[in-house]
């Protein structure tokens, strides 16, 4: 681009990433700029492509389970839960309540952890460097619970097809409740730091606006969709596990801008706390495995199952040919589809807003690229 200028006589093409502090991984965004105004973006992804779907075809159902943790590596528990449930659905296995509630508690903890991580990095992108340390501190408490429960902090491999690998450790209930009590005031602190701060409001309001209609057309799901005012949460509309037995609300935004998505995620953390509290109360001793055989061998059929992952609808489409190996596992990653909206959301904004928009989409490149 030797003739590049900063006037509209010519466009400037800037390459953001794959090594860039604000692209949350190895995302490469080509920005067409007019001055600092963005005319268009093009995402170049695939730097982290590992062929997860191909790996699945060469593993047994059980063996593939650890791999799904590595897609959305900041929300491994929900990933694993979605996969296990998809296979269970294929086999028609019903889980005992203890396993269901355990899964729900861990998944909601994971949702909080994912949102915390999102909040920290998003704030860091917008220039507030402190929240990231606070949120990581809170996330650490969740990871400690995970470590105590299943022995791993990040890529947990917490669940097995048909139930749980581990029963809860002694004191889990206490830990979970204690964490809930600990978290709520901390969320208030984040809000104190950011929600009413004029700089934060300037930076996020009216940035990356997505109307409800556009959001559906673009296929975005999760908090991004809810931020645009569409009250849709798979936990409510197509409940899995025991989500139909607990009470919680679906927070939504009105304007569909970055600020609304921020508020939605903050509120979701509070709702998750509610779910955790109710689930802990309902934990009763009992079996932790459904009726599955030692060998996982689902019938020859295909099934699509999706759950509400922290980032949106995480779907697994599993095709079985009746053997121990899946014939095909398709992952419908929320980040991938949400990232597609970046181009439309970022048109006409400034470079600084691109950073905010990428942040607000809450993508994880491990999941985008798989």
């Amino acid at each position: 681009m030797p003739e590049a200028t900063y006037l509209d006589a010519n466009e400037l093409v800037i390459n953001m990433g794959p090594q860039h502090p604000a692209t949350h991984g190895v995302l490469r965004v080509k920005l067409r700029l007019d001055g600092e105004r963005v005319l268009g973006t093009e995402c170049i992804i695939g730097y982290l492509h590992r062929g997860v779907e191909k790996i699945a075809e060469n593993r047994t159902y059980v063996q593939f389970a650890p791999y799904v943790d590595r897609m959305d590596y900041v929300a491994a528990v929900t990933n694993g839960m979605g996969y296990c449930e998809a296979v269970e659905k294929l086999m028609g296995v019903e889980l005992p309540p203890r396993a269901q509630y355990t899964r729900m508690i861990l998944a909601e903890l994971q949702r909080i952890a994912s949102h915390l991580l999102w909040l920290g990095t998003h704030a860091l992108d917008i220039g507030a460097m402190t929240p990231v340390f606070y949120t990581f501190r809170e996330r650490e408490e969740i990871l400690k619970i995970f470590e105590n429960y299943c022995g791993a902090r990040l890529t947990t491999h917490a669940f097995r097809i048909g139930g749980l690998q581990y029963d809860l450790y002694d004191g889990f209930e206490k830990d979970a409740t204690k964490f809930c009590d600990y978290l709520l005031p901390k969320i208030d602190e984040y809000e104190e730091l950011l929600s009413t701060n004029r700089i934060w409001m300037n930076r996020t309001k009216k940035v990356g606006v997505l109307s409800g209609k556009d959001a559906i057309a673009l296929g975005v799901t999760g908090p991004v969709l809810r931020g645009s005012g569409v009250k849709w949460d798979i936990r409510k509309v197509q409940p899995y596990e025991a989500y139909d037995k607990v009470e919680f609300e679906i927070p939504t935004g009105q304007n569909g801008d970055t600020y609304d998505r921020y508020i939605v995620r903050i509120q979701e953390m509070r709702q998750s706390v509610r779910i955790i509290r109710q689930s802990v109360e309902r934990l009763a001793p009992g079996p932790i495995f459904g009726k599955v055989g030692k060998v996982i061998k689902p019938p020859a059929a295909e099934v699509y199952h999706s759950i509400e992952a922290p980032k949106g609808e995480l779907g697994y489409f599993v095709v079985s040919d009746g053997s121990t190996h899946p014939y095909r596992v398709r992952v419908r990653p929320p980040s991938f589809v949400n990232l597609e909206a970046l181009d439309i959301m970022s048109r006409g904004h400034l470079v600084a807003d691109i950073v905010a928009i990428i942040g607000t989409l809450d993508i994880v490149l491990g999941e985008v690229d798989r």
Binding site: T5, Y6, D8
Partner: protein
């Protein structure tokens, strides 16, 4: 003595960098040399007991106008014009004119330099610490010109903004 030597050094610096200004290919280099010139002229102001003007020279010229110019140079692409021909088509005519002008000026100065030896040269301390004097003069004797200048600045500012603005969508 010190003043004379300083004056000579500053003059040489001013003239030399002025020549660099008009001969450099890259406008950024030109601008940098112009800054050197401006600094030297500012130094001359100091020798001439005009510290306020020195400050104004630095603040306005170096800190304001030149930053603006460099800003614009970076805004418009210089790579293209840097590779093209540097001097205009009429450069020969222009140069000749200027040389004639310079010769005339030189001759006039040479002949008239006696006239500059003024009858009443002010005492050295007459202009010491003149900031207050300048302020008083500006806002009392020259009130109207100041207002006119401020209107000029306002017009220039509005004009510049309008011209540099993009077309309304």
């Amino acid at each position: 003595m010190v003043a004379e030597v300083t004056f000579f050094i500053l003059s040489a610096l001013a003239l030399g960098s002025a020549v660099m200004v008009i001969t450099r290919r890259n406008p950024v280099h030109s601008a940098l040399w112009l800054i050197v010139t401006l600094f030297s002229v500012g130094g001359v102001f100091l020798i001439l007991r005009a510290p306020f003007l020195f400050a104004v020279q630095i603040i306005l010229y170096v800190g304001g106008i030149m930053v603006l110019i460099i800003f614009v140079i970076m805004l418009v692409s210089v790579d293209v014009s840097g590779r093209q021909q540097q001097f205009s088509r009429q450069w020969l005519v222009g140069l000749t004119t200027v040389l004639i002008l310079a010769a005339e000026l030189g001759y006039a100065l040479y002949r008239g330099s006696k006239g500059f030896l003024l009858a009443r040269s002010a005492p050295a301390a007459a202009l010491e610490n003149n900031t207050q004097a300048i302020g008083t003069a500006l806002y009392q004797n020259y009130m109207l010109p100041v207002e006119i200048a401020s209107i000029l600045l306002l017009v220039a500012m509005v004009g510049a903004v309008l011209m540099a603005k993009r077309k309304m969508e």
